[in-house]
């Protein structure tokens, strides 16, 4: 059985962990040698999903957030999972500018950014059981030099 190249990170949903989470996924994605633009797309999308878990899924308590990423060929898949309150109406949640928490100055653009910056976004959510966001990004193959560029990640 071949083992895929993956990482799985578990962190408590403190807002200061938003930057830690996206930096970790970025360090993992670095082995694909993405362009600066691809890298910033991934970081931004991960930041949106993790922020949603922190502020929407768990609201006032600190819950656990799981971030999984795996690589197949030139494709990276990132999953952000929470065990929070879930999303009642996923279609409405994904509409641009829809936010349930305007008082937190959320813009309602989180899902729109994930969908624009990644190639695929899937949302699974059960009321009271939590939410899983699965995002896929294909990395362009120009400029590939095997393993060489990975060292530059850290």
């Amino acid at each position: 059985m071949e083992i895929k190249d993956y990482m799985r990170l578990e962190i408590p949903g403190f807002s200061r962990n938003e930057s830690f989470a996206r930096a970790t996924v970025a360090a993992f994605a670095a082995r694909l040698d993405p362009t600066l633009e691809e890298m910033s797309d991934i970081k931004t999308a991960v930041s949106e999903a993790v922020t949603n878990a922190v502020i929407h899924a768990y609201e006032d308590e600190i819950g656990i957030v799981f971030i999984m990423a795996y690589i197949e060929n030139l494709t990276i898949t990132v999953e952000v999972v929470d065990q929070g309150k879930g999303i009642n109406d996923v279609n409405r949640a994904m509409e641009p500018f829809y936010t349930s928490t305007p008082e937190l100055e959320r813009s309602g653009m989180g899902f729109t950014i994930m969908e624009s910056f990644m190639d695929e976004v899937e949302v699974e959510s059960d009321h009271g059981e939590g939410t899983t966001i699965r995002m896929v990004k294909h990395i362009s193959s120009k400029n590939k030099q095997g393993e060489k560029s990975y060292g530059a990640a850290d």
Binding site: S15, S19, R22, K43, T44, S47, T51, E105, M109, I113
Partner: protein, 114 residues
Amino acid sequence: MEFTLLPMQGNLVVRIFGELDQHYAEEVRKAVDKEWKREIYHNLIFSLENLEFMDSSGIGLFMGRYKTVSEKGGRVAICGPPPSIKRVIELSGLLKLMDIYRDEEEALNKLVLN
């Protein structure tokens, strides 16, 4: 993330450095609102030349300030965002509400003319 508040020609310039996300947007919001309440500024300028990362929390921050500032007849401008941050801003439709400039100098000049 770090930021500085600078009075410039009667406007309030907010320079933000590093990474702006939900954790830090809150900090900036509080400081800007407090300073704005002094009611001595015409316009508000977010200077993003040294910002390295921003997610939609930045959009929320700018939109929220737009409300407070435009109530008093002031304007909000954004200047110098790097390409990746510019894409987030463009996507958000923010440019219907505020203008984007190359740098602080251009922002200050244009805001005065308008």
